[in-house]
């Protein structure tokens, strides 16, 4: 389990993380989301002991990572695919890391096989693609079969097969009762992989909840309704205390339960064509929450600026 308690990190005048507190529990995949420059990587570096917090602290399985007898057994990390001397081979890189904990060559060969790098194990890393670099980073993280995984953008540069492998591996880890904390800008991927999300913006934690609750809350628990006469039914619904927002097709109803809406339709002798709870996607929920937190805003799309 990862616990981040009141973590603050300043780089000179810049506040990268501002009194952030959150937890990534065992048995779950926790997605760590936020716009560029929000403080995700800094928080992960603090968890791994690479950055010394200005205030607060981060623990892995109850202790600072440096206090564990075997840090590699507690947590494996992929922080950047470019964390390898380019002149070294993949096998030499992993052997050097494994040696720190007395882990032998056989395990190195195992993780090379697991990550699909066995055929390029003796090639220099400088010839690796981004995806191969990611795989090597994941192999490093898995070397000691750790209780906790911390991965910063693990699917960045991976092919679809690799993306699926990371997803399955993360789910498998969580199913074994282990903790996975991963950051990604691919919302659809996080939605498929994560049980929980922690969202950070401008260094502050904006949300720390389950994916299901987060998306449901973003959709305001609205119910999509279509009947044989939406105009007449909207008057009835408003009379019953509902708040309406017109959807692209039909009505979007907030403030009434689905059963009440159905009863009203039956009483009004209207045909009910649709009655469904709507949920926002993780991306919609995330965009809604972080709209004001984006530090580096994109310009208008090419279509919008075209003459």
């Amino acid at each position: 389990m990862i616990e981040v308690i009141d973590l603050t990190k300043h780089y000179g005048d810049k506040i990268a993380v501002d009194h952030a507190s959150f937890a990534a529990p065992d048995g779950m995949v926790t997605g760590f989301l936020g716009p560029n420059g929000a403080g995700k990587s800094t928080s992960m570096r603090a968890i791994m002991g690479l950055d010394r917090p200005t205030g607060g602290h981060a623990t892995v399985n109850g202790k600072h990572i440096s206090q564990h007898a075997a840090p590699m057994r507690e947590v494996g990390a992929l922080l950047d695919a470019k964390s390898v001397a380019p002149g070294r081979t993949a096998r030499a890189h992993l052997r050097a890391l494994a040696a720190t904990h007395g882990i032998g060559k056989r395990r190195v060969d195992e993780v090379l096989g697991m990550t699909g790098l066995d055929k390029v194990a003796d090639k220099r890393v400088k010839g690796f693609s981004l995806g191969m670099g990611q795989r090597l980073g994941i192999a490093s993280a898995l070397l000691a079969d750790p209780q906790t995984l911390v991965m910063d953008e693990p699917v960045n540069g991976l092919d679809p097969d690799g993306v699926r492998w990371v997803r399955d591996m993360s789910r498998h880890f969580a199913a074994e009762g282990r903790c996975v904390l991963l950051s990604s800008h691919l919302m659809s991927e996080v939605e498929l992989t994560a049980d929980r999300v922690v969202i950070i913006g401008r260094g502050r934690i904006l949300a720390d909840t389950s994916v299901a609750d987060f998306t449901a809350e973003a959709a305001n628990n609205a119910i999509a309704v279509r009947t044989s006469d939406d105009v007449a039914f909207s008057t009835l619904l408003q009379g019953a205390g509902a708040i309406l927002a017109s959807g692209s097709a039909g009505l979007s109803v907030v403030g009434l339960e689905a059963a009440d809406i159905a009863r009203l339709a039956v009483r009004a002798n209207l045909d009910l064509h649709e009655l469904t709870h709507t949920a926002a996607t993780l991306e919609e929920a995330y965009m809604k929450l972080t709209a004001d937190q984006v530090e580096y805003k994109s310009g208008p799309s090419l279509e919008a600026v075209a003459p």
Binding site: L50, I65, A70, A85, G87, G102, I103
Partner: protein, 261 residues
């Protein structure tokens, strides 16, 4: 490796030392070491047999150590680059993620550099002996394996190389930038001694005695005195040489516990 073995995995000084020695083994190391040893042997051979006629023992032994200087500078620079490359390549992220006790890493990195440099020193003497002894003995020279001066010189070279490996690692860990580390090391091992020679002033000669090359010279060759030449006695020179390694190491040790990785 079975799961049972993995559960026994522990972070240890010995493990990190092995890791750092593995990292040192590279194509660059082979090149640097090869060139350093080649130059050592070349300088030993070209130093000639002229001194043997005056002193058969000293003349023979001094040829073994004629190529120390260049090999020493190259080995020291390589030790610094091996440290700064952690940061220049981004390797430090992977290293400190598995060795979060950064001071333990510094100790192991410095030890690995010292071991590597000491091995180069031993190989240098052995290769120089193989390259020069036949011609030296043929010119009337002689070698006495129980001679204290020979052993002081041999152990001195090994100690100088090893301590310089520690110094270079520490400087690399402090500045974390290859260019700056190389400039610092080349300045204190090569440029400053020459600059003091060029100045020739009394104060410059005095400073020269305290530089790594001045103290190393005493540890290897023994104290010498003469016009425009001043060296420390053996024990103070040894202490100053150790201080050249210890001071940056202590500074790096302090910084490792305070700075971000």
């Amino acid at each position: 490796m079975s799961a049972t073995t993995l559960t026994e995995a522990r972070l240890s000084y010995g493990g990190v030392l092995k890791s750092e020695l593995l990292k040192l083994r590279s194509r660059a190391m082979l090149w640097v070491t090869g060139i350093a040893l080649g130059l050592w042997a070349l300088l030993a051979v070209t130093s000639g047999t002229g001194d043997i006629a005056k002193d058969p023992l000293f003349g023979t032994e001094s040829r073994l150590f004629a190529g120390v200087m260049l090999a020493w500078i190259m080995t020291t620079v390589y030790a610094a680059v091996a440290t700064t490359s952690e940061w220049s390549t981004g390797q430090y992220r992977a290293t400190f993620a598995v060795v979060p006790r950064t001071q333990l890493w510094l100790a192991a990195k410095a030890s690995a550099a010292a071991i590597y440099a000491a091995i180069v020193a031993v190989l240098g003497v052995v290769i120089a002996a193989a390259a020069t002894l036949p011609s030296s003995l043929g010119a009337g020279g002689r070698i006495v394996l129980t001679d204290w001066d020979l052993w002081r010189a041999f152990l001195g070279v090994v100690a100088v190389f090893a301590l310089s490996g520690v110094m270079a690692t520490a400087i690399g860990a402090i500045v974390r930038a290859t260019g700056i580390a190389v400039i610092i090391i080349v300045t204190i091992t090569f440029i400053l001694p020459f600059a003091t020679l060029i100045f020739g002033a009394e104060w410059a000669v005095h400073i020269s005695a305290y530089l790594p090359s001045g103290t190393a010279d005493v540890v290897i060759n023994g104290p010498m005195f003469g016009p425009a030449l001043e060296t420390l006695p053996l024990v103070p020179a040894s202490i100053v040489l150790v201080a050249w390694a210890a001071a940056p190491y202590i500074a790096a040790w302090q910084l490792m516990s305070k700075r971000d990785a």
